[in-house]
Amino acid sequence: MTILAHRDYRNGEQHDAEVVVVGTGAGGAVVGAELAEAGRDVLFVEEGGYHPTASFNPYLTESLPRLYRDSGGTVIIGRPPIPYAEGRCVGGSTVVNGGMTWRPPEEVLMEWESVTGQPDLGAKAMEPLFDRVEERIHARLQHPSSIGEDSRLLEEGARRLGWQYEPNRRAQDRCVGSNQCVTGCPTGAKQSTLLSYMPRALSSGARCLTEVRARRLWIEGGRCVGVIGKAINPRTREEDIDVCVRAKAVVVACGAVQTPFLLLGHRLGRPSRQLGKNFLCHPNAKVLAVYPHDLYAWQGVSQGGQIREFRNEGIIMAENAVPPGTVAAQIPFLGDEALDLMRRYNAMAMTGVLVEDSHGGTVSRSFGAPMAKYSITRYDHERFLRGVRYLATLHFEMGAEKVILPFSNFHVANSVDDLAHIERSQRSRSTIELFTVHMMGTCRMGSESRRSVVNLSGELWDLPGCYVADASLFPTAVGVNPQLAIMALATRVAQRLQLPN
């Protein structure tokens, strides 16, 4: 198993491989593993470090800098601004996500088929890919021993209101509900790519260069032939060693923000001018309920299921218990007032409303960093208000004392009657507080170079040898947790990737 880190690099050193894959998350690890198992010489380039399961612990002060991009301090600019989080470590965001494995709804796949004009992305063509990925990441329902009180509460609330509740299928092998998904699963149950695809790739001979930031593509004669990067010193955070990788093909799998950022540095995507466009982020609003009794929501799987009654309206609701530090950073109180609320942490049910994007934003380069811009539409805003009201109603139905709402000018609802004020007080899109972890789009896949950034094999129309394999491929919004769809598309890219003679 070859995993190199900053201490192993020498300035100006060149590494050679058949395929270099930038990123080791849901896209990169899958492409790399599939190719390595097919006998290709694969080399991964990963900006973050290698952190094995034994190193994971529940402390945010350790986990945020080690596992998250920019310590989790990334924001999408718009109305309202939306903080977002993505992983930066071997395994990428799969190390810190909830591991949900929903297949895209059939209507989404039909739309993809229609948008691309080809059956390749339709339900029938994608099914074997989903089957293959689900088998490899152990996509399963949770064992009863892993379900916590907050999940049961949400399920019971949905049942009382006559709403459809569906248990999650998650990438897990004997998950016991330690509820540390966001700081890295300490039990080894969550099948992030750190534990599923990366070991497959490495045992098939792939190598991984960690702590290397890909700065530029290496282009020769109009073809992509490698990646030029800088190794990051983990102590000083300085980028101090040049690292070059030469390969016959390059797969960029850095996520929907970093992938277009890298490609835009070369003025690519010219045929369609769609590179960096169609940025989707499936935003969510937190609804925090305080109950008269302790739930200990931090015990049990972080998300046991989802309320999908309003799926046709593009609204999904779910619980998602996070550590106290994350909750405290999002409440609009300071000092003793914040502590008074946080003393009720064990009585809190942390839930959220996810709304499917109705339009796209953009990702561009600005002062050497990526800038994501996205504003919710009035239609999205109206659905958020409706979703928050639904969820708060459920909490009051289940006996909540109060509900902390995601509005900067209306913080607390003490009864179901207070919810009538939501529509009246929330006329501006600036007063809702959103968050996201589902960034998608920006390198749309398609069958025509005029309308898409990459072809149906994932190869850029205007740069042969350069492939994309992450959430940026999505032609339209997926409306569910995107991990499974990313992995399936990455499998397809691996199957279709062709090397020059």
């Binding site: 945020l64 800098p65 989790g72 009180e149 016991v176 550590p323 405290a328 000092g335």
Partner: protein, 152 residues
């Protein structure tokens, strides 16, 4: 800048529980977080904190910066920023709130105050999974229940 960080942390965080090194620890964690960001982003965060420090002036609430005010007064002033009706003003607090609150509420003595104890729970769950891997599937007595049956 270090003094501003300490004073802002003092105003944002609950006065107790704290240890002698709470403010220093929280400020140090904030600086570690910033080191993992691009330099431009980290600079913006720090610049934002300087702007917040002078918020009494630009909000027409006084002539002295927050760092020169007693913590209780500074906290009242900051609450006005956090709950401002103006989005750009509220945005200024994203950084300090995220950095200081996530660090403070990550400390063991604060966890104790909240009756939050993830370490023993995780250890227990790791042991449970180990037994499962050895062939003993968890039974009903290993399910997570805290509410008496019949609780709404």
């Amino acid at each position: 800048m270090h003094r501003v960080l300490l004073k802002l942390a003092d105003a944002i965080l609950p006065p107790s529980p704290r240890t002698e090194t709470t403010l220093e620890d929280v400020a140090r964690h904030a600086l570690v977080y910033l080191r993992y960001m691009p330099r431009s982003t980290a600079t913006l965060f720090l610049l934002g904190m300087r702007v917040i420090n002078w918020s009494p002036l630009w909000r027409f609430r006084g002539l002295r910066p927050l760092s020169a005010l007693p913590p209780e007064t500074a906290r009242r002033q900051l609450l006005g920023v956090v709950q401002s009706r103006w989005l750009p003003v509220r945005l200024l607090m994203y950084g300090p709130l995220g950095l200081f609150m996530s660090s403070y509420f990550d400390q063991d003595y604060v966890h104790q105050e909240l009756d939050y104890a993830p370490i023993p729970f995780v250890a227990d769950r790791i042991e449970l999974r180990r037994k499962w891997i050895e062939g003993r599937e968890p039974g009903a007595d290993e399910e997570i229940h805290h509410l008496p049956s019949g609780t709404p």
